[in-house]
Amino acid sequence: MTKFLAEIDVMPKKEILDPQGKAVTGSMKNLGLSEIQNIRIGKHITLEIEADSEAAATAKVDEACKNLLANLIMESYSFKLEPLV
């Protein structure tokens, strides 16, 4: 068994309004950084998982993302895995 660290990003889908990102984009103007645009805010999730192989760990993390960590109606996700030493 190997222990892996998964780093997961969950983002609001492109076609969906992200009010939080929009508000933060608006405040960039007040900072004098009006060239910064289209801020979108999602979640970064880390977790540890023990599995026989990287493929097995990938399958489990994918299941966790699909069923709980992201709502695929409004969000998309991506993740990377690395062995923990």
């Binding site: 309004l17 009010p19 939080q20 929009k22 109606i73």
Partner: protein, 230 residues
């Protein structure tokens, strides 16, 4: 009728709905704790409003995996009637029992005020006695009530007459200005294809007692119980 009201950690409208069902409508009510595995023979399940599990991750996402929800999902699959109000609606969409999802309000604010809404169909247990021309004044209180469904799902729920309520103005016009939270096509509530699961963001249980000087919410409970309109 025997109602079962599910209580999650963070539910806060459970006593309101229990009061209306029990004291105003004269029905039997059992409280169902989220860790229970038994619906106690309730004939109609209600998921109340609140902030189950602190709205962590997403509203309703964690509640959906509570032990009692596995019973509720089976009950609904067998045709049992389930109603979700506010956070209950969010839980039902997270559980896949209702189409679509509830996004953050486009106003970026938590909204707590009266809105108007209109029944869009009389072909449902919760709207069958509501005059579709009548604008009901009902309170909302939510941060994530912005109903969203992709184009295919939206077409399907319109084609199948699954939209229960739309936000409207006091005169009953379904217009952008009357949309409190950015919901697609002003949708405030929907039912599933089998028409036994119901969800909406507004709180009729907060407008069903004469003491509150607004009883527009009664129409929904009267529909459920098939009582004559007051």
């Amino acid at each position: 009728m025997k109602f079962g009201v599910v209580i999650f950690p963070g539910s806060n409208c459970d006593e309101d709905i229990i009061h209306v069902l029990q004291n105003v409508m004269g029905q039997q009510v059992v409280r169902l704790w989220h860790k229970d595995h038994d619906l106690q023979d309730a004939e109609f399940i209600v998921l109340p409003g609140g902030f189950s599990f602190g709205d962590y991750l997403r509203s309703g996402a964690i509640a959906r995996f509570s032990p009692i929800m596995q019973e509720v999902i089976q009950f609904a699959a067998k045709g049992g009637n389930v109603l979700g109000i506010c956070n209950g609606f969010q839980i039902l969409t997270e559980a896949g029992l209702l189409p679509g999802a509830l996004l953050h309000n486009n106003t970026r604010r938590f909204i707590c005020r009266n809105i108007h809404m209109k029944a869009q169909t009389t072909n449902s247990l919760v709207t069958r006695q509501i005059d579709p021309q009548r604008a009901l004044k009902i309170p909302v209180a939510h941060g994530e009530g912005n109903y969203f469904a992709d184009a295919d799902v939206l077409k399907a729920i319109n084609d199948n007459d699954q939209v229960l309520f739309r936000y409207c103005d006091a005169a009953g016009n379904v217009v952008d200005d009357a949309n409190p939270n950015g919901s697609i096509e002003n949708i405030a509530g929907v039912t599933n294809q089998a028409r036994n699961v119901f969800g909406f963001m507004p709180h009729p249980e907060r407008a069903a007692d004469a003491l509150l000087a607004n009883q527009d919410g009664l129409a929904i409970f009267e529909s459920i119980l098939a009582l004559a309109n007051a």
